[in-house]
Each structure stands twice: as C-alpha cells, then as structure tokens.
C-alpha cells in the first residue's frame, strides 16, 4: 500500500468498492500528493507565495537550459526597455494632467497657439525617432536571440520523438537498431548538457509542447513534423504541459522532464529497454491474467507479454514513471487503483473507459502493474 497513506484526503476503504469513490469528477482528483522525495518532486512543491513563485518546475523565469536561458535574457531586455518607456509615458501623462494649465472660461475654447503646437511637433518627431530607435534595437536583439536558439543544432546527440495524443504524450527514443528503441509515455529523460532534438508530431489534433524551464513552445500539428532543439543544463525534474487547446482534457496533458547526469540517463535507458518483469507473487500473476483478459489489453501494450496494442500508453515500465494519466496524479498504488476504478471521474472525457474491474481483480491488477518497474 505504498503511497496510500499519504493522501491528504481520507481515501475510504480499500478496495474502493462499493459505491462511488470519494473525490471524483465533482470534487477533483482523488489525491495529489506523492511519496516524499524521489520521483516527481515538482508536484510536492507547496503553494508558494507570489514573489517566490517565479522559480518553479514550470516557469520560464527559472531557466534550466541554454535556450530558456537565452529567452530569459530576451525577457529581461524587453522588460527593462518597456518598463522605462512605460515610466516615461506615465510621468508625462501625470505632468500633462497636473501642470498649471492655461485659463479658459467655462465652455470656452482655447485658441491653438502656433508656437506651442510647433514645440509639440518637435517633441513628437523626437518621440517617433526614439520609438524607431528602440524598436530597431529590440528587433535586432530578438533576431540575435532567435539565432542563438539553434546555435548548436548541428551537434545533435540525441533525438526524441514526441507525439501528442488526446490527452497524453507518446515518447519514443528511436534507435537504428529497432530492438533498442524505447517507447514510453508522459516522461522525457534527458542527459544534462547534451544537444537534443525533439521531433514533434501529432495524430489527432494540434497540441503544443511547452517545457518552460528548457525552451519555448512548439506546436505538434497533424500532417507536419516540427522540431525543437534544446540543451538541458541543470539537473532536476521539470514539468511540461500542452499549450494548445486540444479538447476536453487539455488541462490534464502534462509531462515530466527529468534532466539527469549522462550516467543516470544511460542507466534509465537500459532499464527501459528490458521487457516487463515476470510477475513474482500469485497476486501479480493473477493481475497479469486480468490485464490480458480484460479491456486493458485492447488499448495498452506491455512488452514481453501478448498485450501489443499501441493506441494508449505503453505500460511496460509504468511503475517507474512519476505520474499517471499525463501528469494528472502522482504515481502510487492508491492513485493507480483509483484511476483504473473510475478514470472518467478523475479526468472526465479522456479515452480510458470505465471498465468496471471487480474489486478483487482490481487489487491484483494494481499489484501486477506496480511490479512493472
């Protein structure tokens, strides 16, 4: 029952039957905590006060990659320039309103004085000139930063295919040797410091991949293939989210990006290459049977078993992922059980149906899935 007890809300009896689960569609996801430390630390970040909110697992103001760093610089340039301009306009407005004005009788009209208007015309041309100079500066800066984003593009060390689906992310690490390519979902692992090319595709509707700590967003468009080139520098766990409205569960289409040392990355990759472990306990064996004989295997695949469907996330190493349902819930057994028991309450409208697995089977199924490290 790992991770079960640390839910913030009372969870109700296990197995979650009979009757509707607590939480649910009308009350939001069941539980949003996770086991302390380790995976998915971003989720554990407590609500932060406004000023410290700038840093975070999904903030462009806290860059952890080369590209995000450049864009961060661009932001500060823009911010400083625009703040200065705004200040000037506001000061002038204040002066214009508060100064001692020419006297005019009630309902009278002020004559336009040629001299004063000529003076104003001079300042207008200064103003326009200044605007042009500032804008040229900003256009140049923007262009320079834009070029720097693809500076290392030809030194690609790793290619990752990201495919947006309604409403999850299919991630592939292609390899020339097909048996060495990895398929996973809703998590990207990246070696720190390596130039990476993300190949972006979509099957259904337009999505947009946005990992603000690493780079700006790029759309995933059916019929097209886009690219995002990035170098992640600082190790850590970051959060990305779909940024193009994509339907009912656009709000729950997140992914986790783990930036780790090259050694850790290779270890993770090797682990992912392995087929699913064989069930060890009787309960797990029964869970596997449930999986293969029920609706699960119509959509999900687990390498090393007969389940080979691929329209839903590959579950071969489900238990090694930090979240389930595309960042909706932190991974733990309790959440997993709740999710399988009634996915439509937690993420209404998503494509995982209400299967109605009987409670004893559900427990076995969760035990099996939890063994898929």
């Amino acid at each position: 029952m790992r991770g079960f007890g640390d839910s913030r809300r009372p969870q109700g009896a296990w197995p979650p039957h009979p009757g509707p689960l607590p939480g649910g569609e009308r009350e939001g996801p069941l539980t949003l905590t996770l086991s302390p430390g380790g995976r998915g630390t971003w989720v554990a970040a407590l609500p932060l006060p406004l000023l410290t909110a700038c840093s975070g697992p999904q903030s462009m103001l806290d860059p952890a990659g080369t590209q995000a760093g450049h864009i961060g610089t661009m932001w500060w340039i823009l911010f400083a320039t625009c703040a200065a301009v705004y200040g000037i306009v506001m000061l002038w407005l204040l002066w214009a309103l508060a100064r001692r004005h020419r006297w005019v009788e009630p309902r009278g009209v002020l004559p336009v004085e040629e001299g004063r208007d000529r003076g104003l015309t001079f300042w207008l041309s200064v103003w326009v000139g200044g605007t042009v100079v500032i804008l040229c500066g900003l256009v140049t800066a923007s262009y320079a930063v834009d070029k720097s984003l693809t500076h290392l593009a030809n030194r690609e060390e790793l290619a990752v295919e990201v495919e947006g689906m309604q409403w999850w992310w299919r991630i592939r690490y292609p390899d020339d040797d097909p048996s060495r390519s990895i398929a996973t979902a809703n998590e990207i692992h990246l070696p720190a410091g390596a130039p990476v090319r993300l190949k972006l595709k979509a099957q259904d509707v337009i999505h947009s991949l946005w990992i603000p700590n690493l780079h700006g967003k790029m759309d995933l468009i059916p019929g097209r293939e886009n690219e995002l080139f990035l170098v992640a520098e600082r190790e850590g766990t970051y959060r990305g989210q779909c940024a193009e409205f994509c339907g009912l569960q656009h709000a729950h289409m997140a992914l986790t990006v783990v930036v780790e040392s090259p050694e850790d990355f290779n270890a993770w990759k090797e682990a992912q290459l392995a087929p699913a472990p064989e069930p060890a306990s009787d309960e797990q064996k029964r869970g596997k049977a449930v999986f293969l004989s029920s609706a699960c295997s119509m959509c999900h695949g687990i390498r090393g078993t007969t389940a080979s469907a691929s329209v839903a996330p590959d579950l071969t190493h489900l238990a090694s992922r930090p979240t389930i349902a595309a960042g909706t819930l932190p991974y733990n057994r309790g959440n997993l059980a709740a999710w399988i028991a009634d996915p439509q309450r937690i993420k209404p409208g998503n494509h995982m149906p209400l299967v109605g697995v009987p409670p004893p089977d559900l427990q076995a199924l969760v035990a099996y899935l939890d063994s898929l490290k």
């Binding site: 506001m90 009278g108 009209v109 940024a243 009912l248």
Partner: protein, 645 residues
C-alpha cells in the same frame, strides 16, 4: 426623359421662405417613425437602429461578462468543481465569440451608425434599409448562438476554432456548425454596416467638410470600415471551408488529402489580427472626440493622427503570422513579422503622444469621460508594450497561449476599447437620451472598473510566465498558481460591480438625470448642433462646415444650406474630397422588407447547418424578400420618383 431638376412652386423646401416651426413639423412628419410595433419593426432611422444596436451589443457584453465570471469562479481555486471540462470549454468559447463577434465589433459599428450621420451633418445613413437588415441579421445570429448554447450546442473549440479540433472528426454534433454560421450572420451584418459607413462618409458629408475637416471619430470609422471590407471576407471564406469540411466532406483542412490545418490559421488570423484593430480604431476615434471636448482645444496633430490611423490599418494586415510563431514556420519569414508587429507601435505611439499633448496644452475638465480616457492611457500603454514584447519570436514562444497573452489582450482590448467605449457612453449618453449620467456614480463606476481590471488582469502576466496555459478548466494546487488566480477572480468581481453600477447609473439617469441640452460639454462637432436627442431628421437645415470643429469656429451662428424638400425624404450628396453639394438624393422610407429578408436569410443559414439543400430552397424566400425590398415604389408626391436602396 425630363429630369426633375426644376421644382414646382408647390413643393415645400426648407429655408428662409418657410417658417421654422412649420419646417420642423413637416420634416418630422416626413422623417418620423410611426408609433407602435409596426413602426418599430419597419423603421429605417439610423438613430433608432443605432440605439437598438448599442443596447443589443451591450446585452451581449453582459452575457459575455457573466460567462467570464463563471470562468473566474471556476479558476478561483485549484481543482475547482463549479463546471466540468465540457461546460467550461463551451463557456470560454462562448465568451470569446460573444465578446469579439457579438459585442466589440457590433457595438463599435453601432456607435458609428448612430453618430457618423450626425457628425457629418446629414439626415440619415446611406442605405438605411440595408442598415435595418444588418441589425436584424446580427440579432438573429446572436440569438441563434445563445439558443444553441442553452441547448448544449455551444461552440466548444474556442473562438478561434482551430482545425482539426473543430473539424468533423473531433467536434461531433452541430456545435461548431452553429459557431460557423454565427460567423456568417455577424459578418454579413458587419460588412453591410461597413459599406454604409464608407458611403455615408464619402458622399454625405455636410457641404464644406472636405477630407481635412473630417472629425477624427469619423476618420477612425472610415478606416475601420475599410478594414472590415478587407478582413471579413477572409473569415467568411474560412468558416465556409470549415462548414463544408464538416457537412459535405471537402478536404480543405485534412492533411491526408492535401489539406492543411495551418491554412485555417492563416485565413483566421488574416482576419483575426485586423479584427483587433477593427475594435480598437473606433475607440481611438472616441478618445479623440472626448479629449478635444475635455481639454477645450482641438486635438493636437490632426494630420499625424489621421496618418497614424491609416498606417495602423495597413500594418494591421501584415502581422497575422505573429499568432503563429509556435507553429514551426520558417524562421526567416517569421522575423519579418517580428519587425512588422513592432512597427505598429509607431502609429500607436504617435496617437498616445498627441492625446497627452492635447491634455498638456489644454485645460482638462475632470468629468467622467476624461477619467475613462486617462484609464485608457494607463492600461492601454501597458498592453501595447506587452504587445511589443510578444512580437519577439523567442519570447513569444515562451508565453504564447499562456495567461501572459490573456493579460496582454485584455489590457489592449478592455483598456484600449472598453474603457474608451464607457467614456463614450458617458460622453454621448446626453446626446442619445437628452439626459446626463450621474457624475458621482460615474466616478465610482470608473474607480471600481479601473482597480478591478488591474487586480484581475495584472497577476495574469506573472501567471503566464510561471507556466499557466490558457484554456485550462482547472489546474493543480502544487504549481502555486492559486493565490494569483484568486486575486484575479476578486478583480473580476470588482469589474462586475463597476459594470452593475453603470447599469444603475443608466437606469437612474434615464428617469431623473439632469436635462442635457443640445451641447452639454461645449464640444465642437456637428452632432452637438442639434437637439438632444436629435429629431428624426437630425438637422432642420444641413450645416455648412468651415473648420475642424464647426461649432467652435462658427461662434454660435452656424452657416447652413437650404432648399431640401420637407415633404419628401431627401438627403444632400456632396463630392468625395471637397464636399461640394452635388445631388439631392431621395432617401428610403420605412419598410418591412429588410426584416423579412433577414428572416429568410436566417432560415437559409440555420437550415444549411442541417442540410445542404437549404442553400437551394432557402434562397427562394430570400429572393422574394430582396425583390420586394428593391421593387420601386411611387413617392407620395408623384413629381419625383424614388429609388429605394
């Protein structure tokens, strides 16, 4: 054919030969709208239709505002449970659609329908029947959308309806079809008004109002109308493609058969970006009117202001790609749009400068309209500057489709258009109703709106940068967005209170407001030369214009022309550039045909949602309606035939 140029002596004309009271009485009989329901349905008076248009637009503003409040309440706390995703998606789609298509553009055009004929000194708008038709079509489209929404058939793919999400495969049912047809309704209405305004401004100006003497509000509406003419065909084409993809299986947006989802985005934003200026330019005209009257001097830099308007319009068509920076278009081409998008700050900067300069040199009168203008400058300049930021491709890639953009365009659109509009309400309410709005309530209204607006929308800048995307129906607590979202919701409630206060003010002032008189602000343009509210014929005699602010120039003794018939509806046409008197043109009388044609076209449009054959059988009643509309009728006095257009 004998042109009826000579006038028999029995024809009555305005002028020195006819007693003034008698002139007004006869003009009223000629131009007045019949009382009762029939008169209401058949009227072609631009003031009645304009007023109707304004009220309808404002009702849609309130509806859109209620939807906004629902969204803010849902987002006030993480994992909110007020509405589910399906309802939320419909709500935000309806909010955007309502505000853009049913509120902002129509109400700006409505102000033009009311004010432009008065400001250029003529008796009615050009093509008054088309004007009536336009209103009915707009009303039908708006009602259709809201009825559909109440029947759970509201649009669900956003006001921008990106394909494939809005396409046949991912938006089942009729939701998006209703949205697409609503576009057709409102575009037909908007295009009709645009043509009317253009022709009114070009051909019906008072004698002497050469182009360099046209008031800035009229200029802004002229430029806006031209933008409508060139922008709206794009969205009509796009929404037709969409509805054909959905209903008869064309492949415009199907990449598997050679279509392209990005085609939609190009067409949509080729309309969608100018749309922002279509909303914003009229507001600039309003600001100019208010500033001149409140600063007690003409706006500084009339010519630069006009050139800035025109430049904005031209540039406005060259920026649409900055809505598509994240779609992976070629980098170099995209850089052009960065430059173009930033350049639009130049004309905007000129205008801001000129207004502040006018206030600086003038003698600001601290009345409510001026408060809204000051609020406009404070808010809009900030929105404009974040717009400059968004023109930068790398920065836009970060904040595109986040709450930063939500904050930006609300600063631009509420600050840039709604604040001037409220200022305009306070400014022209006495002209439209004859009574002043309360200044005290006005200050409270402004204060609540201004503070509430900033409380609601300023935090959204930061929200966007710390990762909150747009169009999410909920968000997890762990990301630390809760506090700012709650603040925004409180601000939204303050805005609602401010708007409620405005409604109270209107209701109270309609009954007990101070009587305004013809020119309560001592302003200088022609709409203030007639009584408040203006008579059905606008002016007893068509004024002659000798300067930019005719009432200030004429010092109480307004020059006028005479010789228009008083027993027949007749308007004076003038030449395009110099406004020399050219023709006396008959003006159409009230008729039911525009309403019938609008009903026929409504049946056609709604029918075509369900069956393509409606386009065929629906065109028959429409043709009947149009023939009835254009069928010539004999005038009451048979000496001069009348064309009804």
């Amino acid at each position: 054919m004998s042109p009826k140029d000579s006038h028999p002596s029995d024809e009555l004309r305005d002028g020195p030969g006819l007693n003034e009271d008698e002139t007004c009485r006869r003009l009223e009989r000629t131009w007045g709208t019949a009382p009762g329901l029939w008169g209401w349905l058949t009227t072609v008076d631009h003031k009645l239709i304009g007023r109707r248009y304004i009220v309808t637009g404002f009702v849609f503003f309130l509806l859109g505002g209620i939807l906004a409040l629902l969204m803010r309440l849902q987002l006030a706390q993480p994992e909110g449970t007020l509405v589910g995703p399906d309802r939320y998606n419909q709500i935000f789609s309806m909010h955007g659609t309502t505000m853009m298509f049913l509120f902002a553009v129509p109400i700006m055009e409505a102000m033009a329908v009311y004010l432009v004929p008065l400001m250029v000194g003529t008796r009615n708008i050009a093509f008054p029947r088309l004007n009536a038709f336009s209103y009915w079509v707009y009303l039908a489209g708006g009602i259709m959308l809201y009825v559909a929404f109440l029947l759970n058939t509201g649009p669900e793919a956003g006001w921008f309806s990106y394909v494939p999400l809005s396409g046949p495969e991912y938006s089942p049912g009729k939701r998006t079809d209703f949205w697409a047809q609503m576009i057709t309704f409102t575009e037909v209405a908007a295009l009709a008004v645009a043509v009317e305004v253009i022709v009114t401004v070009l051909k019906m100006r008072a004698p002497g109002m050469s182009l360099n003497r046209v008031p800035l509000f009229v200029w802004s509406m002229l430029v806006t109308s031209f933008m409508v003419v060139f922008a709206m065909p794009s969205i009509m084409l796009a929404s037709s493609f969409l509805i054909m993809d959905r209903l008869i299986g064309t492949h415009f947006f199907n990449p598997a058969e050679g279509g392209d989802p990005l085609l939609w985005q190009h067409l949509f934003w080729f309309f969608g970006h100018p749309e922002v200026y279509i909303i914003f330019l009229p507001a600039l005209g309003m600001v100019s009117s208010i500033v001149a009257a409140m600063a007690r001097r003409p706006v500084f830099g009339h010519l630069p202001m006009v050139l800035a308007l025109i430049a904005t319009a031209f540039l406005g068509f060259g920026l649409w790609v900055h809505h598509m920076f994240a779609t992976g278009l070629p980098r170099l081409g995209v850089s052009y749009f960065t430059a173009a998008s930033m350049m639009i700050a130049i004309p905007s900067g000129i205008q801001i400068f000129c207004w502040i300069a006018t206030l600086w040199d003038g003698q600001p009168q601290w009345r409510t309209p001026l408060l809204f203008v000051v609020g406009f400058v404070v808010i809009f300049v900030l929105g404009g500057l974040t717009g400059v930021m968004l023109a930068s491709v790398p920065f836009d890639q970060q904040v595109h489709d986040t709450y930063f953009v939500v904050a930006h365009f609300h600063y631009v659109l509420i600050g840039g258009a709604v604040f001037p509009l409220f200022g305009a309400f306070y400014f022209w309410f006495p002209k439209i109703t004859g009574r002043m709005l309360s200044e005290r309530l006005g200050r409270w209204n402004f204060g609540l709106f201004f503070v509430g607006f900033n409380v609601a929308f300023f935090p959204m800048h930061l929200l966007g940068m710390v990762g909150m995307p747009r169009r999410v129906y909920t968000y997890p607590a762990e990301l630390g967005w809760a506090g700012m979202n709650l603040t925004a919701t409180i601000g939204a409630l303050m805005i609602a209170a401010g708007v409620a206060l405005f409604i109270v003010n209107v209701l109270v002032s309609l009954r007990g407001g101070r009587i305004a008189g013809p020119n309560p602000w001592g302003a200088g343009t022609l709409e203030w030369a007639t009584s408040s509210p203006p008579p059905s014929y606008n002016f007893a005699h068509i004024p002659v214009v000798e300067g930019l602010e005719p009432l200030w120039d004429s010092r109480g003794r307004l020059p006028v022309v005479h010789g228009l018939r008083v027993e027949e509806r007749e308007v004076l046409l003038t030449t395009v550039v110099d406004a020399h008197p050219d023709l006396r043109e008959p003006s159409p009388r009230p008729t039911i045909w525009p309403l019938l044609s609008a009903l026929a076209i409504t049946v056609l449009f709604i029918g075509s949602i369900f069956t393509p054959s409606a386009v065929v059988w629906g065109s028959i009643p429409l043709a009947v309606g149009l023939i009835g509309w254009f069928w010539p009728k004999r005038s009451r006095t048979p000496t001069e035939p009348v064309v009804e257009s």
